[in-house]
Amino acid sequence: MQTRIRIQREDFDLNAEVTALAGNGEAGAVASFTGHVRKEGDLTTLTLEHYPHMTEAEITRLVAEAGTRWPLIGVTVIHRVGSLKPGDRIVLVAVASQHRHSAFQACEFLMDYLKTHAPFWKEEARSDGQHWVEHRNSDDDAAKRWQK
């Protein structure tokens, strides 16, 4: 399984990433997810902090786990860090497989586990100052669905 994991400040080109992942006809199905900074009231900036090295290590472990559950051809995970604005993209998870259901399942599994396991923290800047975003229990519930 071809795995690409990148933590970066820059935006990414979804078209180029999916083209690279699909290869030259190796994969019939690519499921992708992009997470975007929502425009919410007076939110001006969303700043992402992470734990260098552990982030990559943890995502590598999650992708390996996905590879044991579904027949995957390739996975690309790109997560941005630094200062983002409403509308900016935060994350890409793209999964190539021979079969679309496997691609969809693995992509959603990876997003659910990324949300609960990958060491990133979001801080919002609003008119009344900076606030760390609270972890959502609904994300834990989403990840628990995949427990075997």
């Binding site: 997470g35 992402l48 902090e49 992470h50 734990y51 090295h53 552990m54 290590a57 943890e58 997560h79 935060i90 994350v91 997003m111 990324l114 949300k115 609960t116 396991h117 990958a118 060491p119 990133f120 923290w121 979001k122 801080e123 760390w132 975003v133 609270e134 972890h135 959502r136 994300d139």
Partner: protein
Amino acid sequence: MNLLYFAWVRQKIGKGEEQMTPPVSDVASLIAHLKNIGPNYADAFADLSRIRMAVNQHHAGLDAKLGPNDEVAFFPPVTGG
């Protein structure tokens, strides 16, 4: 031991990283040790239900064993993705 702090844990303690060799053998006793260093640590670790930890870049629990060369990180529940 290499200690790392992230997000509001880092802000409360006032630094992101420090080295120390505390006389502890697991995460729970490391936290007890840190809380005695000063009010900033006591404040950061006041509510352990809001703290998560990793040992050598793997998620870990309060009962995880520690050795002198371990990297231990404390942080809030994650909010990426």
